[in-house]
């Protein structure tokens, strides 16, 4: 790799580190809000809350993790795997939308109670971040995108999707399991 390319690669890594740090602070603040809401409640989940469909939430999460793996494979096995990651990610978003619909119908939507509030706020905002990552993957897969830059961008996108999957795991454990 040329010196310039290697320098650019490190720049990208530094930039991504700062960006992920900022995102981490955002989700930490949201989780802090969740902690406060939970501490204020007399019991958790608050009495009268319908049971939460953990299974559905977990299987959606698996889709996201699978997307991360597919993206990682793309580095060695070619852009098809990146397209697969894109598809899996999009499927995750669709399934999340479906889950939200189900929650709203089952009186677990936002505004119905503290658990609904928390899950909806965290998961909706998380989904927006997933969407952003998918847009980035789509952009680097464009035919007009620079093929030379693709490996570097793929690496950065992988870091980001790993982060987003980790955040989902944390949200799942903190909200759905605990």
């Amino acid at each position: 790799m040329s010196r310039e390319a290697s320098a650019q690669r490190i720049n990208g890594a530094v930039g991504m580190a700062v960006f992920l740090g900022a995102c981490a602070m955002l989700f930490a603040a949201l989780l802090f809000a969740y902690a406060v809401v939970r501490a204020q409640a007399t019991a958790w989940p608050p009495p009268g809350t319908p049971p939460f469909p953990r299974g559905a939430a977990a299987s959606n999460g698996l889709l996201l993790i699978a997307a991360g793996f597919a993206l990682r494979r793309a580095r060695t096995r070619g852009p098809r795997w990146a397209a697969a990651a894109l598809g899996l990610g999009a499927l995750f978003l669709l399934m999340q939308a479906g889950l939200w619909g189900r929650l709203v119908a089952g009186h677990l939507g936002p505004g119905t109670g503290a658990l609904g509030d928390v899950f909806f706020a965290l998961s909706a905002f998380h989904a927006l971040h997933v969407l952003g990552g998918l847009v980035a993957i789509a952009l680097l897969l464009r035919p007009r995108a620079s093929a030379e830059a693709r490996p570097r961008r793929l690496r950065l996108a992988t870091l980001y999707m790993d982060f987003v999957a980790a955040v989902w795991l944390i949200i799942y454990v903190a909200v759905c399991v605990a």
Binding site: N11, V18, A29, V36, V37, A41, A121
Partner: protein
Amino acid sequence: MTASPPPPDAAAPSHAASPSPSWVSRVFSTDHKVIGKQFLFLGLAFLAVGGVMAMLIRWQLARPGQPVPLVGRLLFPGAGGVISPAAYTSLFTMHGTIMIFFAVTPILIGGFGNFCVPLLIGTRDMAFPRLNMLSFWTMAVATATLTASFFVPLGAAQSGWTAYATLSTAIGAPGAGQTMWTVAIYFNGVSTVMGAVNYITTVVRLRAPGMSWFRLPLTVWGFFLTSILNALFVPVIAAAMVLLFFDRVFGTQFFIAGSTIRAGGDPILYQHLFWLFGHPEVYILILPAWGIVSDLLSFFARKPAFGYRVTVWSLIGVVVLSCVVYGHHMFTTGMSPLLGESFMVLTMIISVPTSLLFLNWLGTLWRGAARMRTPMLFCVGLVFTFGIGGLTGLYLADIVADQYLHDTYFVVGHFHLIMAAALLLASFAAVYFWFPKMFGRMMSERLGKLHFWPTFLALNVVFGGQLLIGWAGMQRRLYDPSAYEFLAHLLPWNVWISRAAYVLGAAQLVFVVNFFVSLRWGKPASANPWEVGTLEWTLPSPPPHHNFDVIPTVVRGPHELGHPDALARGKDWLGQDEVVS
């Protein structure tokens, strides 16, 4: 020394005569110098908008209930030119929001940060030029959202720039204006974080060979440290805005207290999230100013910055401490004594690095050979106003005094002395100083001085006066202070403060004239009109698109003025890349 190696095209880059750029590539330019100017113009425009709002607020306080002359019927048609209580609450809300997020941030951080950082560290552009361009246009989207919020039914946001819950939730603030406000702040934050990613990566990775950390101009340190705080804490207010948006639009209850029938959150949660960001934010705004002034005092006193290393460590100390002092904004909320005392002590401790920084300024001036040009006047003005502003902070750090002074005009005077006076003076110093480099022309010295003196004197009267009426007990955010008997005697004070404010406003017209006339007809600027050694002054004014033909190699720090080697060569400064045989 970890500067990255110069890019392979370090030798004079070959420029095939390129066709003149399309308007698209000019509007969506990725050149940091262009983006810097875009931010600067956006910020200056909104500084004017925020300033006009301040004039309106001062009118109402001096002449409660009377129609505003000239523009009253235009702005407040439904009320016959009188500012209604609802309009007044929007005015002070939007004045604060605009000044902090849409004036000072774009001018200093977006404008001068973008323009100066690559030039001062000796590189061709920011690490991520396209991200840079996106950051400006995201700011533009935020600005458009905020502007649009004026035109919705029920008008713009009204809960103060601090937007405490539950006044800012659907309970206290129905209407789309407040919701749009949260969206605008959110996108402003996105723009800022994009900028932070860029500035941090650029300073860490793209410094010219020889530009070690302790040879960086303090201006760069200011922007670098500000970006670290931005990256860490802007996301926290973004989270607060997200949750507020959800509370308003989706009926969640993060900031609305729970009841026996429905578990909920806590309005105080909002205050914690807000001030976790809000306190670092004031340091975010002042750090670039501190950096710029530290450099400029040295440049115009013609001697090195006194105690450079101590200054750098003090700035870092302020950054670290700023994370843990935010509770001093909440001393009257009934927080636990342990928490209160801790915040008080930590807030007091932050005055140590701040005072070191300040003493170093005095040390720089001491036994100097000062050239009192316009940028220097503004810097000295900042030293003065920051002195008062900083000392009055101690009054508010003391919990006992704060019980009385919280939410009075003493707070308003304190933060305006720093946020408005010191920051404005720093911004003007930066404009006068870098205008030649940005636009290739000198601004008028005479008009500069004519701008400075009324501005400086009026700033002190307005905000010093506010310290005094706050001391007398006048609360903030009052539509009509004469509603209170104990404040009735303060009306003459408010009248005089308002008059000084009008003078302040009028004095800025001198700046506007100077700026635009000089842009067109100013004396052409040489490469280094100020005779200083930082790298941007080795380039033509304005610099070419690619900045440096050859990436410089740095051999010394940025403040080598009055150096014996220089004097031996018949001048009193040495450039950072100037080799002395």
